[in-house]
Symmetry: C2
Subunit: 431 residues, 2 copies
């Protein structure tokens, strides 16, 4: 469909391309990125026109203002995209790095070398700039990709896809990037565990869960973001209020916003009244456990509240008797995403950081710092709540794996098995 | 069943224990290992008696000699197990290591710290010593585990389980190790994606495939081991014969034994006759493509041979016209496990090592080197052909993940979002 080699399944085309992509030299991948950046600038009118079509269709269908803002692809977003691509070009090459080198025996040298994963399937939300970011991350890391964007952005995505693949033609192998344009196409993609090595779903919780339940391909991402802050008995109360307000109100729809604040019983009388006052001042709501409502007027929290990601200016509050109760609540009700403690007590802090089983565990700062850019990882591939491969905010490293390369001069195992020869296992300096 | 807290599901008990295990200090985990080593030595008669029961039942049922040898748990195997545990005790602690440290802003320090994965499910073959090795690797790495061994070894496994859990009682949390004793128990285990973080299946291809097809839990392992050697036009022929013979005959039932030898057409007349002669001398069989049989007498290879793991002294041979054809054959028919090239040509070697998409890619040495012990990784958890998390031979590192710990002094995101403050993202030395 999108390639010249006659196969209409983008996953198959991507797999064919991946074998070539993985051994292209860094200069070739950077040249492709430079051409893509230039192509986007040169053909911007084509892209803006397609986006105008999406925007007017979306307005007519009554899409809400924040979503319209995400859908818009204008000069400013284009410049951000091109800036992002040029930043990737100037980054050191992540492929082919020797991560470890060991002499197994004289003349038999083992290296662990970074390499692309292969074919990455990414299903993303309405922002068309995500298509540019993800495809350029894949080029930099030597991966082929199959992308599916939000249907509201179909015209823009199609134009961006055309410009990007045209710009890289003759430099990258045909099929290196595939575009899926229907929901049926997504279901097909999820079945291609023979071609696709990793699926990164970004979007609503329900959608991510659907993906996780309907594929044998490894999935990197997070469904829920139920984050907690525990205000310890020995918290600085002013800091606790500031951190909780920032974590909830700075951007309530984010996955790293706090949903439940757990308050030690000794801190509750000092913490809750100013916290409630600060929430009121920002038009945010508090739902509390019975003990909370004895201290400050609030809506009652039901059992379901402890398992709810509000994605809105609502926070649930529970009074706990100990740090142990707080940790157990978090490990039971949380989504292993980001959880924080506010305390001046070093040993309570270390206990919390060690025992909470989450990708990100924070002391005395906002949960909103859980983000690839803020962590200094560069472009963010996503946030993972799975426990293997990559955890928490994932940068370009999450798109890489490694292979073991062993270079010898005719060695066989037999003399080592018989004890005639023995291994040296000497760690060697990296090249 | 095996624990005091009343829950009969070992996966649930293991999950409860994992939260405690992950924050035990290294000394406590080492103390548990020391007690386990002492317990095994002290109660060896109990274990040997159980093993005698398994051995006589297995002899009566006509189990073959090599399997009987694997089933035997005698003084020598006990000493190996205890030696392995003491080696683990003296290894540096792998948990809580700071892998990276970044200042995000003055006083806001991000650390990436190694931590246990949580609950590991391991389903292993008939060797009872595997139970000791796996459980002690889990103790060292702070993971809880649920184990299922081969049914032939049920009595021995039950005795080892009892001795190990008795020895660690009061040091490790109850439920840290669970034993599943029925096939139905395995099916239950595979359903517990709410409790179990990683499944490591070891055993027959059919079984591993069954596991991969019947669980949502991430699986680390390999189903097939279809390994190749490509004898290049510029191979040293004597070396090529040695490496191929070792790769096939040193232990034909291993997953890293070679199944298919691909021979460049220019090398075939010089390579095939001595290779056939060496196979004959070892009672091994060659199945060849039509061009192969023009050069040397052999059984004909059918299409199915290129996708077959013989696990026996049989090797298939195919003549190819180019390195490109060899690489494509391997990427299509191989199992991404271990593939080797024999050549004196550096650029052909580097092309092969870069383009073959396998966990282990070797030049001028036997495929049989693909092994955790031979790689110097210490105890081997397994060999992974998946492309994420861990690839190839996996040591104790494969049982670890990481968490991001952010320590601040009240920082909120708002001033960074408004541009009032900016990130420093300064890499810091490791502690």
């Amino acid at each position: 469909m999108h390639t010249k080699n006659g196969n209409t399944d983008p996953a198959v085309n991507a797999e064919n391309a991946a074998g070539v992509l993985s051994s292209l030299p860094p200069e070739t991948r950077c040249k492709a990125l430079e051409n893509i950046a230039e192509g986007l600038l040169r053909r911007k009118d084509e892209i803006f026109e397609a986006n105008a079509g999406d925007m007017s269709a979306a307005s007519e269908s009554g899409l809400e203002a924040p979503l319209l803002k995400r859908l818009l692809f204008d000069g400013s977003k284009l410049n951000d995209c091109v800036g992002g691509i040029r930043a990737l070009i100037s980054m050191p090459d992540p492929v082919g790095r020797t991560l470890r080198r060991t002499e197994l025996s004289p003349g038999l040298i083992l290296s662990r070398v970074s390499c692309p994963i292969g074919v990455i399937g990414v299903i993303f939300e309405s922002r068309p700039d995500a298509l540019v970011q993800i495809s350029s991350l894949c080029v930099k890391s030597g991966n082929a990709c199959v992308l599916k964007g939000g249907s509201e952005a179909a015209r823009t995505n199609s134009a961006l896809f055309k410009v990007i693949t045209d710009s890289a033609r003759g430099i990258l192998p045909d099929g290196w990037m595939g575009l899926v344009e229907t929901r049926a196409g997504v279901d097909e993609l999820l079945k291609r565990d023979d071609c696709v090595d990793l699926i990164i779903p970004r979007g609503s919780n329900a959608f991510v869960r659907h993906v996780m339940d309907n594929t044998r391909i490894p999935v990197m991402g997070h469904a829920d973001g139920i984050c907690h802050i525990y205000v310890d008995a020995r918290a600085n109360m002013e800091m606790a209020v500031d951190v909780c307000i920032d974590s909830k109100c700075q951007y309530p729809a984010a996955c790293n916003a706090v949903e439940t604040v757990l308050v030690h019983r000794d801190a509750a009388p000092k913490f809750l009244p100013p916290f409630k006052q600060a929430l009121d001042a920002r038009g945010a709501h508090m739902r509390g456990c019975p003990r909370t409502s004895e201290i400050t007027a609030c809506e009652p929290a039901g059992d379901a509240d402890w398992d709810t990601e509000y994605l809105s200016p609502v926070v649930s509050v529970k009074i706990v008797d100990s740090i142990d109760e707080a940790v157990n609540h978090i490990n039971k009700h949380g989504s292993h995403h980001t959880d924080a403690i506010v305390t001046d007590d070093d040993s309570a802090a270390e206990e919390f950081l060690s025992r909470v089983d989450s990708a990100d565990v924070f002391r005395n700062c906002s949960t909103r710092f859980a983000d690839g850019f803020r962590f200094g990882l560069g472009a963010e591939v996503g946030i993972s709540t799975s426990k293997i491969h990559a955890r928490g905010p994932v940068g370009i490293d999450g798109l890489l794996t490694y292979k073991w390369i062993l270079r010898g001069s005719g060695q066989t195992v037999a003399p080592f098995a018989s004890g005639q020869e023995s291994f040296t296992h000497r760690e060697m300096p990296l090249p």
